[in-house]
Subunit: 420 residues, 2 copies
């Protein structure tokens, strides 16, 4: 066993012409980085190069000189533009050999598709001498690990689905073993909607505690408050601290995700969908400014026909009248972007559809259409239910897309409040 | 004037803890890379580091040794974790000075928000000695250029909107001037929907011509066929060649974008919206499996209330009957996912809304709900108009999200055909 290197630092490398030429956004690097950061492993650098063996070898050589951990994705496939194994061999002066176990795994994998292993497929079994094989049960190209003390280099396929599973199956357990202090963390995430990151920071000022590492992450339209505890933190202390944080942001929090509780947390539409399913309740939507986006969010999860009945996209005033029974006089008096119209839309769609809940949005997404009274970003949302109708007036910042996204999240959050 | 360096190669750097820790996906790098690739400038590498002046300086120093062009985004803002100017000064031994013109531009920018320039804001006017200022008319932080022959380094803000405008206003004109051969290209893009990349390649086999560089780009749900000509290519030859390509993919092409024709091309929803606007026509939607996503696409562009009247999200059979008048017997006999129901939905929503065009989707997005007859990915789309109703049966691959996205694009494409 090697001793633990003093400072653990990760570099994330990816390769492929499509990445370096910008035709693919490198979401792999962000995913790996986030996973590492959540575990407490510092990320030093990301880098990408094209399908050029010399460039890959150069990048590997210099990165191995800086980092203690490297994850390199891509270039393990069967075709002529897959150069990773050759580049590793060149960078570190290793011989390339067909690895019998790798060959066996690839052959078995091909067999499940009813295919014979051909010469092209065999290319994927070439592994640098001394490298440890990483089985890929989710695709054909196996990965491998190379040790260049103090640096350890992990080579994974570039297909996001395969990369993620191999990270969870091989790399993260490897990190935990090499850096036992990583094992220590318990991460509790309070997920909020309608709250800005800087406001969240302000609200939690004074709650700092030496046993908790507090972090914030903006993932529009969400803000996530991340509480990191030691693994052996007292259960009662954790529960009390989380409750305190949750209390401060109660108006915005919709779920608490705990890394020690499988299945906890989830997206806003997922949490709302699960709650509706559990209660055997249904929903219908009447959307003006969001024009179908609330219905789209409510149907993102499979099985959504259990809770989603129907929706009306009431862009024109005529549609508001005909589809949701909003009186013409009300539209005339208050304008389409108003509290009475939001209430009438929610109640109208609820009544006509027979759904348990009616959701409505009406507002000015921009860039045009704003007035002094009702500037761009003015949005009324309403949720009609068995006990009455809730309403909220939003004053949203940002461009058309942003106003629409925040409106969708806000009306789902308002429904979530009624369901809680 | 400096002589032209022999091999032009670009490196793209970005910085920020949120990027390196994976909380932000670096879409800037992909955007810049794609722009450069389209212009014919080779991209060597992307790299990102966190908000650490020494790490940034180190990265700049080594990259300047490899590349002839560097674009570095981020770290130009007013706060304490914005370190780019300091890192540039450290990397190249330059003094940092408050640039009077930069200070003036920032002050003027603050004034438009009704704000006084404070000490924090002034930080953004510190520019390395000898650097050339790049005005930022879209935000507060100016950019700058540093020359380290043969490398030229461009520093831009990390906000994507500002970065993109500064690329178009400053960097790309700078590249064109330094590398006159880049000016040479004329890029014609035939944008297609419903066509796979490999099928596109197969279809165009035999059309290769030495005076045209042919490329393909998959941007789900689109495939773009890229034809690059010399700038002085004969106009008649270009027109004829483009017509030939367009003819082969006619069934799928919805627009031709020409880099020498400002305003040509655009997204499918933009092209459809413009056509509706020009004809003074309107649209209404009846969506089952896409559940609001067609309406959302039709309202993505500002001004969409001119053509979008209303939509019905008819997830349940009851909604199909009540909102679009689909006969219960038809649903019973053919099932909701069928040609007659798609036609009835499109005709029903058209008639009830009074719109010129009625668009409908009904299908099985999955992962559940598929049968032997109607597997996951079976989608019927229809467009009802003044001359009758067009229908298409789609057999779509991929997961729920993919099936939905392709269904949306396909029904917009079917409308586009009716409009042409």
């Amino acid at each position: 066993m090697s001793p633990i290197p003093p400072v653990a630092e990760l570099e994330i490398l990816s390769q492929g012409d499509e990445v370096v030429q910008g035709y693919t956004v490198d979401t792999n690097a962000a995913w790996i980085a986030q996973r590492a950061t959540e575990l407490g492993l510092a990320v030093g650098r990301h880098a990408s190069v094209g399908d050029d063996p010399a460039a890959i070898a150069g990048l590997l050589f210099e990165a191995a000189d800086r980092a203690t951990e490297i994850v390199c994705t891509g270039g393990l496939g069967p075709t002529d533009d897959d150069h990773t194994a050759d580049a590793v061999a060149a960078a570190f002066g290793l011989e390339l050999r067909v690895h019998p176990q790798a060959l066996e795994q690839i052959r078995a994998r091909y067999a499940t598709f009813g295919r014979e292993l051909d010469v092209t497929g065999q290319r994927q079994a070439r592994i640098p001498a001394g490298a440890r094989l990483l089985e890929n049960r989710w695709g054909t190209a196996p990965g491998f690990v190379v040790e260049r003390w103090p640096c350890r280099l992990w080579f994974l396929p570039g297909v996001p689905r395969e990369m993620r599973r191999m990270m969870e199956a091989h790399v993260i357990p490897g990190w935990r073993k090499r850096y036992p202090q990583l094992e220590a963390g318990r991460l509790v995430t309070v997920r909020c909607v309608g709250l800005g990151e800087s406001r969240a920071q302000l609200l939690l000022r004074g709650l700092e505690h030496p046993a908790v590492r507090l972090g914030f992450r903006a993932a529009v339209p969400e803000v996530q408050i991340k509480l990191r505890f030691e693994a052996d933190a007292d259960e009662a202390f954790v529960a009390e601290y989380v409750e305190q944080v949750r209390g401060v942001v109660e108006r915005w929090a919709y779920t608490v995700q705990d890394s020690t509780v499988p299945g906890s947390g989830g997206s806003l539409e997922g949490v709302v969908g699960r709650a509706l399913l559990a209660r055997g309740e249904t929903v219908a939507t009447a959307e003006s400014c969001t024009a179908g986006r609330v219905a789209a969010a409510l149907t993102r999860k499979p099985g959504s026909s259990a809770w989603m009945l129907e929706g009306a996209v009431v862009y024109s005033n005529a549609a508001k009248e005909r589809l949701c029974g909003v009186p013409a006089a009300m539209l005339e008096e208050h304008g389409a972007v108003s509290e009475p119209v939001a209430l009438a839309l929610a109640q109208g769609v609820r009544q006509r559809s027979g759904a348990t809940w009616g959701l409505a949005t009406t507002g000015i997404a921009g860039p045009g259409g704003g007035t002094e009274d009702k500037p761009v970003g003015t949005v009324h949302i309403a949720v009609a239910g068995p006990e009455g109708t809730a309403h909220r007036l939003l004053r949203l910042p940002g461009d058309r897309q942003h106003v629409m996204d925040l409106s969708v999240a806000s009306v789902l959050k308002l429904l979530h409040e009624q369901l809680s």
